[in-house]
Symmetry: C2
Subunit: 355 residues, 2 copies
Amino acid sequence: MKKWNFGAGPSILPPEVMKATADACVDYNGLGLSLMEMSHRTKDFQAVMDEAQDLFKELLGIPEGYSVLFVGGGASLEFCMVPYNLLEKKAAYLNTGVWAKKALKEAKLFGEVVEVASSAADNFTYIPREYTVPADADYFHITTNNTIYGTELREDLDSPVPLVADMSSDIFSRPVDVSKYALIYGGAQKNLSMAGVTFVIVKDEILGKVSRPIPTMLDYRTHASKGSMFNTPPVIPIYCALQTLKWIKAQGGVKEMERRAIERAELLYAEIDRNKMFRGTACKDSRSLMNICFVMADEYKDLEKEFLAFAQEKGMVGIKGHRDVGGFRASCYNAMPLEGVKALVACMQEFEAQH
Amino acid sequence: MKKWNFGAGPSILPPEVMKATADACVDYNGLGLSLMEMSHRTKDFQAVMDEAQDLFKELLGIPEGYSVLFVGGGASLEFCMVPYNLLEKKAAYLNTGVWAKKALKEAKLFGEVVEVASSAADNFTYIPREYTVPADADYFHITTNNTIYGTELREDLDSPVPLVADMSSDIFSRPVDVSKYALIYGGAQKNLSMAGVTFVIVKDEILGKVSRPIPTMLDYRTHASKGSMFNTPPVIPIYCALQTLKWIKAQGGVKEMERRAIERAELLYAEIDRNKMFRGTACKDSRSLMNICFVMADEYKDLEKEFLAFAQEKGMVGIKGHRDVGGFRASCYNAMPLEGVKALVACMQEFEAQH
């Protein structure tokens, strides 16, 4: 039976990407060696790194003056690297959920932190829109997509201070006006690659302005000046990322990714809104295209486990909601075909017909 | 033609390990999903993580009271994590080369650093043996194997203060008395796995003693308390490590790895010492079993490029020496079969016969 992987992350990747990565692990380009046993200083891997950085820039239309870095440690490490590199006195954070809070917590070790707004009182069901960013903040940090709550900030904000965004779970799902950001970062394991590599897009001119000494590996300038090759980079995760970037380009780029994301999400949200047995959890103006969260309607609450088992039997994988929200979460990243969402909708309709 | 991969890292791994990793990238255990698209919170991956930690402990005979961590960022990130977690006032470092110096440099950001000895004046051709570690140092840091210079410290030192070792390039090549160490760390991309995961063996009781606040991801306690699952770990590199650990066990464990390493190294050093065209660069009492460095003897200096090309034609990969030493470096990690070294020796003898 065909399985549809709606897991929140590590998550679905195009089958071609997984196949190409597996092939490179056995014999890379007919060289008689696996890519994993080749020095990162070879011409062969340098070409992988260069192409990945170039394609990354091309697909997002990244302007001159920005560096694209591939580093290790995950987005969680960025939570402290951002303030280490950018926070001299004060930083502003928008609190839209668990990951935003974790980022904010790390910043407090480095200076004053202003939480400009929070939707915590409503269990993060919406993205706050009314707030003021202090004009004297060193930067303003946002989390564009909140996987747990299924909310997403899909526009590029006009910020009075340098804008920093965690785009771990919606990068490459829409065109982004990178010029509006000072720094964008994220873990790769949603729309980009296997777990094990973190991407950072950084405007070079914002670096080097804090007075504290920065450990070498935590200083973005180290990685920018060495093209992400200061130390041995995570070779296979970067190769896997390159395969995804090529796939995105071949499919038509980020505009096409956005078209598909909208098509998938509209189909599923329409069913959630139509089907009396289910209810969406995120406010409509904040609904994520990437993580679609829903619960059983109040009068069907006791059928939650039954629906989960029913959907799993039909091949739906990873749709159990996060414990902070409950119910269900269908993550619809770039690699999810429309057929997957259709299968889930069919599931919901069949379950409705049975009850 | 069979290629023999003598590269210094990322480097040779057992073919079975590469094959098993590639297979998991396509379909994991017949589940119809790639391991790279599965949540790290699944029972399936938890089993991988648990088994990797257990086997790691079993193979090295790690006593109670130690945690084994798998994190991202590489050994270079550990250079600052070690002092962040352990350096309150003063640390002692043994300077045996580029990597030791890099580790020492990071420690200076956190407190006083005493370089107890250095072989820099002799281009790091030996491991210093005569020095005193200050009794009031918070820890003493060593680099057990120096890939660039081909030197190795193969005994477990008695240190008057907690001993910290970078074993990036010789872990699992010999039995180690872990009880003599407070912390052992290393990048995986020599004897353990593909690049992208760092291992840390840490004695739990040495943590939590410094007064500075530590960013969450840089605090070893974060990873120890969450079994390396505080954030998404590098799933595929950890799976690859597990395959290597299983392979080491199946081959007879670290005692057998050491027997093979000695056999390989004795064969190659004997040829270097016998063959008048070549000369070993490391002092005999400090010779590494992992990275065997040699140059052309003075009277044959102008044949260096010719020998390199000759060896490459015969299938030798990655034997060009590091620019700091020149000449040749044959890295003989665990996965290098004796046949590879025999092929290199044959190469050297054939070259000698031709001149």
